[in-house]
């Protein structure tokens, strides 16, 4: 047992902090107002910078979580929530997919530039009107002499408007039964249509859109799979959940720091408002939730890394707790900031809008609870 971070775990976290000075933070604060082209430039710029720290390669090979990665992610998420999400979807989801399941050829063609921060990736999983877990996917590829003809549509694809490559989850027909696979589609491919950038409640510095494919032709070597079961598809969801858990930690840190700073400096009745129990106690609850969430998330990462049999269930616990605590902390922070909190462009207001995403994206809080409940039920005789 050891509750201290190892130097190796903390090292990357410090490197990331050092990358962001006041000027770059000011520029990142404008990310929410940028159009897709500017966001692409910003994200690529930071991907390139982060690549030099080794951040983009962390956790790719094993497809697992670990504490060093988690605290580095927490740091980046606290600096810029939107940049964090774009970077993670590109590196930790798209990149992992290619690293874990891709052919050597794909790794050479796609992974190398991805790790160097020269291209952006996206993964298209969800389909309109259905859960990926209970239904075969409608998006399908049919093999012919030229490779695969892929058709289908996907909803809410993060990074789609700025991505160089999109891994599209679907089924491959032709055998006895449809099997799942990922189709790697390059931007500007014929038959690929990127929908309009969606206007969202939060994470407004992230570009998200629907996509559709109409007889989009791919060479056979751009198909990852087909797989024997849904495992690799569900793995992607797990990776998403890990990222969203870290996003929650970063959000909590930012909102708590903003509220604490404000409470120390804003005075009322001749004293800082932190001196009032209404405020001080709120901050105490926020810090309690934050530290509890941190330990739970770190433990979930440690369990995943060590292959604990309960790792999947604890990861769901961490995701639900972090996502819901993030919303509570953001709400408290906004309340403490008062009128200032209600004005667009402060961390509490941004965090309050972003927090809802964490409960919806990846495995929703409701589905996570069902999975946790199932795991509990299966553990008793």
């Amino acid at each position: 047992m050891n509750f201290d971070f190892e130097d190796t775990e903390r090292g990357l976290c410090d490197k990331i902090k050092d990358l962001f000075d006041t000027d770059s933070m000011a520029l990142l604060a404008q990310l929410e107002q940028q159009d897709s082209a500017d966001i692409r430039d910003t994200v690529l710029g930071w991907l390139n910078t982060l690549a030099q720290t080794g951040y983009l390669e962390l956790g790719l090979d094993k497809g697992k979580d670990n504490i060093g990665l988690k605290i580095a992610q927490e740091t980046l998420a606290s600096i810029s929530p939107s940049l964090f999400l774009s970077v993670e979807v590109s590196a930790r989801i798209f990149g992992r997919l290619v690293e874990v399941h891709g052919s050597p050829e794909l790794k050479a063609d796609i992974l190398s530039p991805l790790k160097e921060g020269r291209i952006i990736g996206a993964v298209a999983l969800s389909e309109e009107g259905m859960s990926i877990e209970n239904n075969p996917l409608n998006t399908a590829g049919v093999q012919d002499s030229r490779g695969y003809l892929v058709s289908g549509s996907k909803a809410h694809v993060v990074n789609a408007p700025i991505a160089d490559w999109i891994a599209v989850a679907g089924t491959v027909s032709g055998g006895a039964e449809a099997r799942h696979a990922f189709f790697l589609v390059k931007k500007d491919s014929k038959g690929l249509n990127i929908g309009e950038r969606l206007s969202t409640l939060g994470y407004n510095g992230v570009t998200t859109s629907a996509i559709s494919l109409e007889n989009c032709t791919l060479p056979s070597n751009h198909v990852i799979g087909p797989f024997e079961d849904m495992g690799p598809i569900l793995d992607v969801r797990t990776w998403e959940d890990q990222i969203l858990t870290a996003a929650g930690l970063g959000l909590m840190r930012t909102c708590f720091d903003a509220a604490l700073n404000y409470a120390r400096n804003h005075t009322s009745g001749g004293k800082p408002i932190i001196a009032y129990q209404e405020i001080g106690f709120k901050l105490a609850e926020m810090l309690t939730l934050f530290q509890t969430a941190q330990l739970l998330a770190y433990r979930a990462g440690w369990m995943a890394d060590t292959g604990d049999r309960e790792a999947a269930s604890i990861a769901h616990c961490a995701k639900v707790f972090c996502a819901e605590s993030a919303e509570e902390i953001a709400s408290h922070a906004l309340q403490i900031l008062g009128g200032h909190g209600f004005i667009h462009g402060n961390p509490a207001e941004e965090g309050y809008r972003d927090a809802k995403y964490l409960q919806i994206a990846g495995t929703s809080s409701e589905i996570s609870r069902v999975k946790i409940g199932d795991a509990v039920l299966s553990s008793v005789g």
Partner: protein, 380 residues
């Protein structure tokens, strides 16, 4: 970071669970219903070695580290031991015996620790007063030095094990106008003239622990019963917080594991609309609430224990966070467990009813949640 336990710790925890299930749990319901302290189970805890686990072997202990000691507390809760007995154990071992061990003279240690570790003697701590809870400095109990004796006068309130204790660590003021610096700690034995316990208070939960006033009326004790130096009592009381936020909280966390298993078993056996209620999403959500709380709470407790094992001074912020979280956030899952059982959950024969009542102490005992928030907001 490493959240693992050693193989020995894991095996020990399993041993404690097996022992408790066999020797203690079958007696819980009867004693809880009657609101009676279970002397037999308490002695069994002593025989098994739990009461003195962290004391040196030469004083009747096992020289266990803090994490292992906390594991034992969690194991008792997980086995289904009621909060009353675990509270009695906590007050006895950590608030009374450990104060004598940590701050007493060799003679005091040798006189009391082996007999407290075995369960031959029962200990308690008298700190809280009717008018002084978390505001320790406002205590009014006085200890006046007269020759080679101290004369104690005052009343202590809500003293766990008060009516049954053989040995009490009692705090009183020796200084005249001093606050914290005037507080000293004394050993007062049962039967000392002027020392008596009030009647056992009837409580909502943790009913098998006996709680009462301690009354000191011109209670004369020899000067060698002073623990440590005059004026160092506040520090001693604060040092018990380390145990309070780890070993005393651990049974609450363990009890949630117990509750979770009971809920899952019930959900599988209870049929409604032709299928077990475990098939309903709303039931799974309740199980998840309990599980999430349990998993979130556990590292908070072990962080305090591990830091104590490293010899670090108590981090009061982290300690208050552990207490606040387990106190306030445990109420919802405890309530969910009762609701999941429906009408049966409201009846005593189902253990979740007792666990619900027991859990209500968590945000109150050992420093209320409001006090924890006060500490956190001051330290952040």
């Amino acid at each position: 970071m490493d959240f693992s336990f050693t193989e020995e710790q894991v095996m020990f925890k399993e041993q404690v669970i097996r022992f408790a299930k066999k020797e203690i749990v079958p007696r819980v319901e009867e004693h809880d219903l009657k609101g009676e302290f279970d002397f037999q189970s308490f002695r069994k805890l002593g025989e098994f070695g739990i009461l003195g686990l962290h004391f040196p072997e030469e004083l009747g202990g096992s020289n266990a580290d803090v994490v292992t000691t906390v594991l034992a507390g969690e194991a008792l809760g997980e086995a289904g031991v009621d909060g009353g007995l675990t509270l009695a154990y906590g007050a006895h071992t950590f608030l009374c015996a450990d104060t004598i061990f940590a701050h007493g003279t060799d003679a005091q240690r040798e006189k009391y620790i082996p007999r407290l570790a075995s369960g031959e003697l029962i200990g308690c701590m008298g700190l809280t007063e009717p008018g002084a809870g978390s505001d320790v400095a406002s205590m009014t109990t006085r200890a006046e030095k007269r020759g080679d004796r101290y004369v104690l006068n005052g009343t202590k309130m809500f003293i766990t094990n008060g009516p049954i204790a053989d040995v009490a660590v009692v705090y009183g003021k020796t200084g005249k106008d001093e606050k914290h610096a005037g507080i000293s700690a004394f050993i007062v034995e049962k039967g000392t003239p002027g020392f008596s316990a009030g009647k056992n208070l009837i409580k909502m939960g943790v009913r098998t622990s006996h709680t009462s006033e301690l009354i000191l009326e011109d209670c004369e004790i020899p000067e060698e019963n002073l623990i440590g130096l005059e004026g160092s009592g506040f520090l001693m009381a604060m040092q018990t917080v380390e145990w309070d936020r780890s070993a005393l909280l651990a049974p609450f966390v363990g009890a949630m594991t117990y509750v979770l298993k009971k809920c899952a078993q019930y959900a599988k056996e209870r049929y409604q609309f032709g299928r077990p209620i475990s098939h309903f999403q709303a039931i799974k959500h309740k199980l998840a609430e309990i599980k999430i709380f349990m998993e979130a709470a556990r590292p908070l407790v072990y962080r305090i224990a591990w830091c104590k094992d490293q010899g670090r001074p108590l981090n009061h912020l982290e300690a208050a966070i552990a207490k606040l979280f387990i106190g306030d956030w445990s109420l919802k899952p405890a309530n969910e467990a009762v609701t999941l059982h429906g009408g049966y959950g409201y009846c005593h024969e189902y253990e979740v009813e007792r666990c619900f009542r027991d859990s209500r102490l968590a945000p109150i005992g050992g420093g209320t949640s409001e006090i924890q928030k006060k500490i956190i907001s001051k330290l952040m």
